[in-house]
Symmetry: C2
Subunit: 298 residues, 2 copies
């Protein structure tokens, strides 16, 4: 499907350009922190979250809030990046490299690693709340800030990280694994799509559907990750496979086996696509994007 690939390349480029506009200028006595933030934000990455936000906004025709949406696209990528920076810290996963480059703390020092993560969380809310300036939709923007905060915090991404960290090197029961997947990976994907819908003025029922679609996509995405760690091509992935088994890590695959994992990915995807179609909107690109995210081989 070469047409989709070209469109995707265009949309990713559009997303990159939007994010870049909201990065801080490296100036002033505190410029080290701006450098550390920009280093991390420009370290590559698939930009899945802002892209899903953009495409969900587009699905609902943007509702006169396209500029506001762009603020939140940058904000959600900042939140995601902050979590990677802190995950890599010596007291967390102790990773010196990420995507082939030194991780933020390894490049700027551990203290700057802590502060750069903090700074990106705050900058996310700064950029998001700047969307109030001149908006005609203050309640939508307010609702979007609430979603961003709720899905990032203890009832979202950070809540999932906490349980994940506490269970390091321990077997994880199925209910807690589901909790981790829903919160650590799922919550920000849900925020991405839901903010896109809310800012565009989508109706409550449609927002509910979008939430369910996003949670399915998040779960399927994570289970596909587990499958790839067993079955993936190390060259395509750019990293060795089998790390979960070596680290005795509990995953959906170790708990339920490969066959059930594949079936679950299929079930979750079909449910997501069927919900998407039920919105009765022009969804060709978003459907293909979701299929690509879930069935990816890298």
């Amino acid at each position: 499907m070469p047409e989709f690939k070209e469109m995707l390349a265009d949309r990713v480029k559009e997303t990159e350009e939007i994010i870049k506009r909201y990065l801080p200028e490296e100036a002033g006595f505190q410029r080290t922190i701006m450098k550390a933030m920009n280093y991390s934000m420009n370290a590559g990455g698939k930009r899945i979250r802002p892209l899903l936000m953009l495409e969900t906004g587009r699905l609902f025709g943007f509702g006169g809030a396209r500029k506001e949406l762009e603020h939140f696209m940058a904000a959600i990528e900042m939140i995601h990046t902050s979590s990677l920076i802190h995950d890599d810290l010596p007291c967390m996963d102790n990773d010196e490299y990420r995507r082939g480059k030194k991780s933020t703390w390894a490049a700027f020092g551990e203290d700057m690693g802590v502060l750069a993560g903090d700074a990106l969380i705050v900058e996310a809310f700064s950029v998001a709340s700047d969307a109030f300036s001149g908006t005609e939709h203050p309640y939508r923007v307010g609702q979007a800030v609430r979603i961003l905060a709720e899905k990032t915090g203890i009832y979202g991404m950070i809540g999932g990280q906490v349980v994940d960290v506490e269970l390091t090197n321990q077997p994880v029961p199925a209910d807690k694994l589901d909790f981790i997947y829903r919160l650590k990976t799922g919550a920000l994907l849900e925020a991405s799509m839901l903010i896109g819908a809310v800012l565009a003025g989508a109706e409550e029922e449609d927002c509910g559907k979008i939430s369910r679609i996003a949670l399915n996509v998040g779960l399927a995405f994570q289970i596909q990750d587990d499958i790839l760690d067993v079955m993936g091509d190390p060259e395509l992935l750019g990293k060795p496979v089998g790390s979960d088994e070596r680290n005795a890590k509990t995953t959906f695959v170790t708990l339920k086996g490969l066959d059930e994992a594949r079936e679950e990915v299929k079930r979750l995807s079909e449910e997501a696509i069927s919900q998407l179609h039920s919105l009765n909107r022009e969804d060709t690109f978003l459907e293909q994007l979701i299929r690509m995210l879930i069935t990816r081989e890298k």
Copy 2:
């Protein structure tokens, strides 16, 4: 002035009760992080920031946004507490104790120390943006969220921390010391008073005055801290004096001497009080509160 002391005790109690209402319930798989957050939020402290916010809101008669203000009182204390948690980390100041209790990372582990600080930053914006729910003043709330983010981030508190961390164990030139004082201490005090004024619907000119008052108070507060480290009574302070000299730390006193420090505190206070009076409002309690903060002996 026994009357002020009684009023102050009442207002601090009121502030404590408001903050308590916004703390997370310790429940769910992720309850460890709620425990760590509440441990840090209940570890004592003078509640200066939410108290200044409350009293600035009162100065302008609250403007029909008293409930919204309470959200932000909890939020600003969460931001302040998050900065203490991360400051204490081994890779930052490496403090095992704070106010006679184990610091958060020492009590809950270093990984939970990082995550509890992150969680409190996000929870601050969650609690703040919940003020949108049912408000009649969405633009004021939006403006308050913007101020909170700006004064917390790289152009506020975190910007000051970065420069402070970079200059550890180095002589600090006067312009950078001023920068650190204005941002690390001053910015959150400014946010506290400014948010109080903005939520109450104060006019732009009055908001400008409030900003200048708060910055003066912040600078005077910090310089008084430096004076107390030389001249203070260790029993009243509850900690040894002379630590700045022992650590070869640059302060206003080491740069300019005690006499100039005292004169600067006096000058800043008088300017702050004169600006306060120029607002022509019932400011007796707020004036006394500011005087107490600046001329404190502990």
